[in-house]
Every structure is written in C-alpha cells, then in structure tokens.
Amino acid sequence: MKILSGKIMNYKTLKIDNLDLFFNEIKKSGKNLLVPKKKGKTTYFSSFININDVEFNYIQTTISPKSALFPKVEELISFKKDDGTYVVTEPSIEKETIVFGLRPCDAVGLEYLSNFFLNEKSDFTVRLRKENTTLITLACKNFDENCFCTSVGLSPASIKGSDICLTDIGNGLFYAEIITDKGEKLIAEHSALFSNAEKINKESYVAQVPLKFDSDNLIKNIKNYYNSEKWTINSLPCLGCGACAFVCPTCTCFNIEDEANPVCGTRLRCWDSCAFGIFTLHASGHNPRPIQSNRWRHRVLHKFGYSVTNMDTLSCVGCGRCIRVCPAGMNIIEQILDLQEA
C-alpha cells in the first residue's frame, strides 16, 4: 500500500502554553470541542471544560473519536401525536465540532468511515456531522507494541484525513500543518495564536513505528486464507463481545431500534458488531456465521480483504485499539502473522 498523503496548504507554529487560550476561545465561540480525557484506565473523547482535565499522556485513546461522526446511539427520526395529528421531526446537526488530539491513524479511520457512509448513498446525519467537524490531529511521539500504522501504509507523520496536524517540535512549540479549508478557517479565527513557519522535516520529531507485517503480501494472498484451519484455533479465546468493534475507528456496523408507543416514538441507530452471535441470525433461525471463528474471520477479512475489493482501501488503520481492549487477549497482528507463516 502506498503511503497516503494529503496536500498541505500552509505551515504555522503554536506555543504549547497557548493551547489553553486556544481551547477557551473555541469554547467561547460556541463550538463543541472534544478533547481526550482520562477515567482510570480509560481515555476517551469528551467536551472540553477545563485544560486541567485534558489528558495528554496517551499512546492512543482507548475509545476512538468515531462518535464525533457516528455516535453510539443517534436519533434518525422521531414522531409525536399532537392534537390528533402526527408531527415528524428529523434530526438537525448544526453545532460545529472540533476534535482535538486524535492520532494520524484515526484521521484516516474517520475518512474511511465517512466514505463508507457517504460514497454510495449520502447518509444524512453523517454528512451533516462531517461537514461540521474539524479534526486537529496530534502526531505521535510514542508508540506501543500494539501500534502498526506503518504496516498498513500509514505513519505517525501521515496527514491524510486531518484538517490540521500538530507535531510537538520541542522548545514548547507545536508545528502546525494546515491541510484543508476547514483547517484554514479555524486557524484564521484564532490567528493571533499562530505564527507563520517554514516547512520542516517532521520525521525526526515523530515516533518510528516498526513494521509488523507486509500488507501487500497480505492483500495478494488474502483469498487463500479463507479456508485456513488457523481461524478456529486462533479464535478460541474470543468471547464474541462488541469491544473490538466499538473502539475501532473504522467499524461502521449498526442496528436500528424503534422505541415507540402510539403517542410518540423514535427510531435510533445504534452501534452493532459482527462479533455478536445474533449479528447474522436470520428470522428463520438460520445463522450463516454460526460459530465465533466464522465471526472473527469475517472481521479480519473485512479489514484486509472485502474493503479492498469494495472500496479500494484497507479498513484497518493500525491503531491497535482492538488489541488493547480485548478482554481475552485476541490480537489481529498475531492472526495475520500466523496466516502469513503457512
């Protein structure tokens, strides 16, 4: 896979000490600013209140920022009986959102996610959210044994999918690459905080993530892996929960739930996971993926096979979240290496 890159429009610097001002200015302007926060062992994105509860010390957040575009539960439509007639309301998403502190792999993940929802059929709420969301990525200085962005054609220096990408270049400075019009617009609104800068070589400031596997080889051979007997033995620990899918920035599956009575009701879109046993259960009782190894195989082959066929891209960005969160130690890297070994 080729290294994905975007076109950079402009370069700036921002004093790290001024982040507090920057955040407060955004908050004052009435926008919703999502920042990483910590709760025990969990890091997740939540609305900015105060610089003191923004978390900066993380390799990768436990929960991906995907809910900025695709929340765990969202209303698609609601109705209410009013004076004998039904009034139907469609959701409106007007508030501008800024996401701060996602990683370069996440920006690519969210790009994949919005392409999934917008390419063939333009999904109404995802389109509105996408239009209203600006992504400020923080390039990685550190990585752990579960990071594998470089194995899927990305790197801690990738800017694809970001509107602005910040890199800590020492001396209390962030180097800012402004990539899109949305990024430009946001910087222009806070121009006093940013100084002009020359293009620099970022490589020495970002983490050097070692290659874990060869994705070209994987894509080439993926069809041969479908019948491998390794899926069964490797997936024995898998418990069929939704943790891996729900923390993944590129998992897009959902379920529709209607909660209604004759007077009022809503139709809700909720996250779903292909690891759940009932995900593929038919009304007849037949289940085309009756056992967990079938479900695990589907997840891995979707990321590295089906999405290459359908959307011409991998749908795994190597963030490692599914590995870190799995209650049973399942590891997608281990699975790939094992398949490639044969």
Binding site: K39, T232, S235, L236, E259, S273, G329
Partner: protein
C-alpha cells in the same frame, strides 16, 4: 512452572483430556488464554500473577464443547464459578478435568465437585477492604448523590457487552437485552437503556455472581461494576445467608421457592 506443565502434558498424552485451557504469553507480552491440544505445545504455558482471566467462561463456548474431554486450570474464582455452574446443571459429569495450584505451589487435580466444594471451604477469599471502603463511601452519600453517581457512570456504557461475555455466570444463549421485537428492556446504549441493562444483569446474577470482578476489569469505559457485584453479594449474604460458588447443590435466594417462607406475598 514445571510440575504444572508436566501434569498438563501428561493429561494430554494419556488422552485424559483432548484440550487443556490455561494461559500463555501473547505476542505483545500480554497474558492470554491458551488452548493446548498437543503435549508439545505445553512449553508455552504461563503460570503467574498476570494470569487474571477467569477461564471458567470457556466451558460454555460451543467450540470448546466440541472437545470430548476438557481440562482447565482454575484459580480460586474459576473454581467457584465452576462449582456454581455445576450446581446450576451446566456441566456434564466426567467432562471436565479441573486442575489448580494451591498456595504451596502444589498441583491438585480434583476428583469431583465435592472435593472442589471442600477446597473452596478451606480457601476463603479475603474481603477486599479497599473495595468495601469504596462501597461504604458511596453508601454514605445521599440517595440523590448516589443517583447522580450512577447516572454519570452508566451513561457512558457503550453496550459492548464485554462484561457479559467475560462473565462465567452469564451463559444464556439469548440475553433479555437482545430481545427487541418487541423489546423486553430498552436496547440502545442511552441512559435509560444502560440503567435497565445493568439492573437486569445484577438481578439475574444475585446469588449467582461469584465476585471474580472480571466484568469490572474488562469494561472499556472503566465503569465500576465491582461496586454493584460486591454490594449485591454482601446483601445476599446478610439477607439470605447465601454465598454463590460454595456448594454442589442449588439453593439460591431469588429462585428457590420455600413453603415456609416468612414473607406472606409469596405464599
């Protein structure tokens, strides 16, 4: 641990088990469940403090059930879970070979569940005073403050069901929370749905939960589910004198009808 490895290899070699569930180190160094089917794989076996997961959960897994005879390394929580499952008629006779390592590092292979019952009776788990303190602090708050606490905690639940999946006592093939045509309880992961889900789960686990606290360990949102399980367990003990995972026979409070029950409404 050599003695344990030898025992596992011996069980596999002599076809006393066709698969043995234990732990090993994953590629990233994390300890994870291992499923040994051949004696020459057993060198990978890990034994130590990092082995946390309650392996009893795997006895429900259809792929594991396909093996005719299953061996399992059980820590004290897994033993309690297996005993409770046995009492609930979830374990066939002569299907499991249960192995533990006691405090003197001696490998024990249990002959039957009666032996497990007496082993558990002799190896009481000390009450975790930190957790009790957390609960007492919560109980000292007003009703409104406690409500606020749980609203905040539970509204963050994403309904990934990792807590249910890891729980050895959650083995229903169809969970109430998944029934949505019509809904039994609210399915979406909004506040109401999350409250109904956790209340329902705790009701179903009252006097069945063996308090291994695996649900709390695995929650991606760090929701303190152990506060619920510990409290429900101590209530069950105080009100009904019952502790789950202690006996081969079944007698749990919320499911057993007694003709001489002192509550009138039930008669």
């Amino acid at each position: 641990m050599q003695e344990l490895n030898n025992k596992i290899a011996e069980l596999l070699t002599n076809n006393l088990v066709s698969i043995f569930i234990s732990y090993k180190k994953g590629l990233n160094g994390k300890i994870k469940p291992a499923f040994f089917t051949k004696p020459n794989e057993v060198y990978e076996n890990y034994f130590g403090d990092e082995a946390q997961q309650n392996l009893a959960v795997y006895v429900h897994k259809p792929e594991v059930k396909k093996y005719s005879k299953v061996g399992i390394l059980a820590n004290i929580f897994a033993l309690k879970a297996l005993l409770q499952l046995y009492a609930e008629n979830q374990i066939k006779d002569n299907y499991l070979t249960i192995v533990t390592v006691n405090q003197d590092n001696k490998v024990i292979v249990f002959a039957d569940f009666n032996e497990i019952e007496s082993y558990i009776a002799q190896h009481q788990i000390e009450k975790n005073t930190n957790k009790q303190k957390e609960i007492n602090e919560l109980l000292s708050l007003s009703r409104e403050k406690r409500w606020e606490f749980w609203v905040e905690q539970l509204s963050s639940c994403i309904k990934c069901y990792a807590c249910r999946a890891i729980c050895p006592m959650c083995y229903c093939s169809k969970c109430t929370v998944e029934l949505n045509q019509p809904q039994w309880i609210s399915v979406p992961a909004h506040s109401l749905g999350n409250f109904e889900w956790h209340i329902m789960r705790m009701m179903h686990l009252a006097c069945r939960c063996i308090n291994c606290q695996e649900c709390s360990r695995v929650c991606p949102m760090n929701i303190p589910l152990h506060l619920l399980t510990t409290k429900i367990n101590s209530d069950m003990e105080e009100e009904f004198g019952q502790i789950a995972g202690m006996k081969t026979t079944l007698d749990f409070a919320l499911n057993t009808f007694k003709v001489d029950d002192y509550e009138n409404f039930i008669r």
